[in-house]
């Protein structure tokens, strides 16, 4: 593992219209470490995760992942970063298997069909692999998204409310997934309102209040 931080934010701000969602935020996270991101609704957690994921970019300041600035190096960084988000990025009229197969093929995976089957079995959707996502509950959609995250085997995993919509077995599975990612050396950022659960899974903490860093631990 190199000395270059996995995430480095330098005075990052993000504006939507007249409102600053994130304001003058700076922090670094070493590679292989995990961070718990907390804050009230609207505190800027999702915007921050989307910026780190290269889904959007700062209005001011700079974000670097593994030493590379995100805006200029998005093409190289995107294969290394996975975002589990409120928006599940799934095509409603494609089946779970088709959605994952598309992701696997875009990643250039070898034997994508076998990999997709294995992952759907793993998240407990093997029997529903050929059902359209439109027929799935919110929890099942989340499981497909988890399978897609596993498919990517990311160096940096960004988990936005990963326990939401999951049943108890799904939550246990999610906790296992976070630990597995950490054991593989991945850097993990976990945003959740379940603070005690999040603390048990992470090493560092960043609390946001109205887009500003409130405290770290």
């Amino acid at each position: 593992m190199s000395d270059t931080p996995a995430i480095e934010l330098k005075d990052v701000s993000k504006r939507f219209g007249p409102r600053w969602a994130v304001s003058r935020l700076s922090f670094t996270l070493a590679e292989g470490r995990s961070l718990l991101l907390t804050g009230h609704n609207g505190s800027g957690k999702t915007t921050l995760l989307r910026m780190i994921a290269t889904a959007t970019f700062p209005t001011l300041g700079e974000i670097a992942l593994f030493g590379h600035e995100t805006r200029r190096n998005r093409a190289e960084l995107r294969p290394k970063v996975a975002l589990l988000s409120h928006a599940n990025f799934l095509y409603e009229d494609l089946t779970a298997a088709q959605n994952l197969s598309l992701a696997a093929q875009l990643l250039g995976a070898q034997a994508p069909a076998a990999k997709v089957k294995e992952l759907l079995e793993r998240v407990g959707l093997g029997a529903r692999a050929h059902n359209p996502v439109r027929q799935f509950s919110a929890g099942m959609r989340k499981r497909v998204s988890i399978a897609r995250l596993l498919l990517k085997a990311p160096r940096l995993a960004l988990l936005d409310e990963p326990f939401g919509e999951l049943d108890p077995s799904g939550i246990t599975q999610m906790e296992g997934l976070v630990r597995e990612l950490q054991a593989q050396g991945a850097t993990v950022v976990l945003a959740t309102h379940l603070i005690e659960q999040g603390k048990a899974l992470t090493q560092e903490r960043l609390h946001l209040e109205q887009g500003r860093k409130e405290r770290t631990a």
């Binding site: 889904a55 805006r71 970063v81 599940n88 990025f89 799934l90 095509y91 009229d93 990643l107 250039g108």
Partner: protein, 229 residues
């Protein structure tokens, strides 16, 4: 794992669009019925004079395709807005230019299929002769559909997040398509009717030039349209 290149990415986006269309047939059904109604209404509006109908048949055909393309292009990016799938594609990752190429080909093939369905209808309603120059007629149809799909894909992506997207798309697209429409109607006319001055090749060249310009501009600007910079 190594992410796919430009052409493979475009192919996977195209294949995904075909899979979506095959599962729902939403776009094809809507565009077919809408364009059939349009052709039928034109024939009623112009009255029973067969010579007038025959003379204007290429114009009616292209207006039918053009109006239906608004439904098709809008739907093409509605599915991408649902669950923010377009962002998912970009992060997957796939190059935005691959998405452009895949979407253009997907939209163009759907419009071309629609055009093929409408050709026999123009025979029934307007009494045109499709056997005079069928190869060049199909070429004009293909080039015209590509000419709608290339700028249409860019404007559809631009308007997909707008509140009044159903109004925005035709307002943005129709003025841009006027030269293409003139060329497509003229090329189709000379493929269906007598071409004593041999004007058809010139119109086909003009259509090809429009397609190349729209494809090049779209290829360059599409990443700016879909990336949240």
């Amino acid at each position: 794992m190594r992410p796919v290149g430009l052409v493979r990415g475009a192919w996977l986006v195209l294949k995904k669009d075909w899979q979506l269309e095959w599962r729902t047939r939403a776009r094809l059904t809507a565009t077919v019925f809408f364009s059939l109604s349009t052709l039928l209404l034109f024939s009623f509006a112009m009255g029973p004079g067969i010579d007038v109908l025959r003379a204007h048949a290429p114009g009616y055909l292209w207006l039918g395709i053009l109006f239906a393309s608004i439904l098709s292009l809008g739907e093409s990016f509605r599915v991408e807005a649902e669950n923010q799938s377009l962002t998912g594609l970009l992060l997957a990752p796939v190059d935005a230019r691959s998405i452009f190429l895949g979407k253009v080909l997907g939209n163009a093939t759907l419009l071309f299929a629609l055009g093929l369905l409408l050709l026999p209808v123009t025979v029934a309603l307007y009494d045109v002769d499709l056997t005079r120059n069928p190869g060049l007629l199909l070429l004009a149809l293909g080039l015209g559909c590509l000419g709608i799909a290339a700028p249409g894909t860019v404007y559809s992506a631009m308007s997909s997040n707008a509140r009044a997207r159903d109004v925005m798309l035709p307002l943005l697209l129709f003025p841009v398509l006027v030269p293409m429409l003139l060329a497509a109607v003229s090329a189709t006319k000379f493929a269906l009717m007598k071409d004593v001055q041999e004007q058809l090749p010139s119109w086909l060249k003009l259509l090809t030039a429009f397609d190349l310009i729209y494809l090049s501009v779209g290829f360059l600007v599409f990443p700016r349209v879909v990336e949240d910079d």
